[in-house]
């Protein structure tokens, strides 16, 4: 194990950096996607509800690795066949799209549930004062919904961080992928995967601790 850390320490840290980069990029886009589709599902416009439901159902119905293959191998071929023969997706790009779409669907559900957990009377009180629907959402409903959403959102962050490992399948040089390389080079399977596992654990436990602290701070204001 010492030998692996000595030889591959820098490589592993760099890989962890790639994992974190992919996670952060995906989370940013997932939040945007989640907000849009979550709000679409909360409103009373049937067409928007339908689009939102189709998106969430489609993503939930496809295993992540299949989605990754579809976006990395499938979509570029489709676009090439349409005449853009030089079109290519980098693994980072494909990985970010895959994880954003995946995490975005779950985020949409978290946001929808959070908003619907706020009593209807809150919006009605806002409207009765003359506020528009969007002002009521932005100033009254969403700030209250966020409180209930934060634990689930952080949980989803952690799941997404772990899901990056699946993108080793499309050759993205994240932590799991590098773990495979080290295993191949050294045949020290036990030690290699122990190091990789511990590295994931350190990041995730840190994230959990931070989330607990945030949760506590929010609840204090209640």
């Amino acid at each position: 194990m010492i030998m692996i850390i000595q030889t591959y320490g820098m490589v592993l840290v760099k890989a962890l950096g790639q994992t974190v980069l992919l996670t952060v990029l995906s989370l940013v886009f997932a939040m945007i996607i989640g907000m849009i589709f979550g709000l679409m599902n909360v409103g009373h416009n049937r067409i928007l509800n339908f689009i939102g439901t189709v998106y969430v159902d489609a993503i939930r119905g496809v295993p992540l690795i299949v989605l990754a293959y579809f976006i990395y191998f499938g979509v570029p071929q489709g676009i090439q066949q349409m005449g853009f023969t030089s079109f290519k997706l980098e693994p980072l790009m494909a990985g970010t799209i895959t994880l954003s779409l995946n995490c975005g669907a779950y985020m949409a559900e978290i946001i929808r549930a959070g908003i619907q957990s706020v009593d209807r009377g809150q919006m009605e009180a806002g409207r009765s004062l003359g506020l528009s629907y969007s002002a009521g959402m932005a100033l009254i409903v969403v700030p209250q919904a966020i409180r209930t959403m934060i634990p689930s959102i952080i949980n989803q962050f952690i799941i997404t961080l772990k899901d990056t490992s699946i993108l080793s399948a499309i050759g993205f040089p994240e932590l799991t992928n590098v773990g495979k390389t080290i295993m191949g080079n050294t045949f020290k399977n036990l030690q290699a995967w122990a190091v990789v596992a511990i590295m994931y654990m350190i990041v995730i436990i840190t994230l959990s601790k931070v989330s607990k602290r945030i949760e506590r701070r929010i609840n204090r204001g209640r």
Partner: protein
């Protein structure tokens, strides 16, 4: 001829704060309001009583369009709120509403609860809104609660803040939807006192309540509703003490 008739009808709505014509409201197959017409003049305090499920609250919520109507017309201050082209948000600024469950914004202090709408809608500057909020809190006896959060208040205090919040928009009509029904008995009085004060100052009010004593003391008109219709209306004395309709008599015998 047609012109003069139009003029007449607009004259009527100019005098009246609220003018409701042949209002109907269905929830799916359920007819909650079957046919209601009502005129409320400036400064009138109209109290709606009746058994639960009679459509009182729904009627009240139609007035500021928290419920859309199935058919009929509602004219508030000369604005037809049932018309899709009316800017309903603008009309609502002049109609305060107080809810059974207070509906204070739980994430905001009392002061922020009150200043949120006027500041956002720019009817008052931040400073003016703050000052007005303090004046109103003084009036409802809660000057020391400006920085408190709703969860730190009793039911009666919450409802008084809710009334103050509605008044902060300087409305000329106030709607009350069972404002004391969710309160412990010992807190009913403090809320009714604030409402009485408002009535005395000439506020146009429509109140749904089970407080017959309040109706008797404050109402300029009492309306008894049942089954989606107005069954009987008149002065408190007429309706509460000398009801003519059998259903009114029956209802009053149960609540008095």
């Amino acid at each position: 001829m047609a012109d003069s008739r139009n003029l007449d009808s607009s004259d009527v709505s100019a005098q009246n704060k609220i003018s409701v014509r042949n209002l109907k409201k269905n929830f799916g197959p359920l007819e909650v309001i079957k046919d209601i017409s009502l005129e409320v003049t400036e400064g009138e305090v109209v109290v709606l009583i009746g058994p639960s499920g009679s459509g009182k609250s729904t009627f009240l919520r139609c007035l500021n369009q928290l419920e859309t109507v199935t058919s009929g017309q509602i004219i508030i201050d000369g604005h037809d709120v049932t018309d899709k082209h009316t800017d309903i948000n603008k009309v609502r600024e002049n109609i305060g509403m107080v809810f059974q469950h207070f509906n204070l914004f739980n994430h905001l202090s009392v002061l922020k609860n009150m200043t949120l709408a006027p500041v956002h809608l720019k009817t008052l500057s931040k400073e003016a809104a703050k000052q007005k909020a303090f004046e109103l809190l003084e009036r409802v006896g809660l000057a020391d609660k400006a920085e408190a959060y709703p969860s730190q208040l009793s039911g009666g205090q919450k409802q008084r803040v809710a009334i103050a919040r509605a008044l902060e928009m300087n409305p000329d009509i106030m709607l009350f939807d069972e404002p004391t029904s969710a309160l412990d008995p010992e807190m009913v009085g403090e809320v009714l006192a604030v409402m009485k004060e408002l009535a005395k100052e000439g506020m146009t009010m429509v109140v749904v309540t089970h407080e017959i004593g309040f109706a008797r003391e404050v109402a300029s008109r009492v309306i008894f509703m049942e089954g989606g219709y107005i069954v009987e209306q008149g002065t408190p004395e007429e309706v509460l003490d000398h009801p003519k309709e059998a259903r009114t008599i029956d209802f009053l015998s149960k609540v008095l």
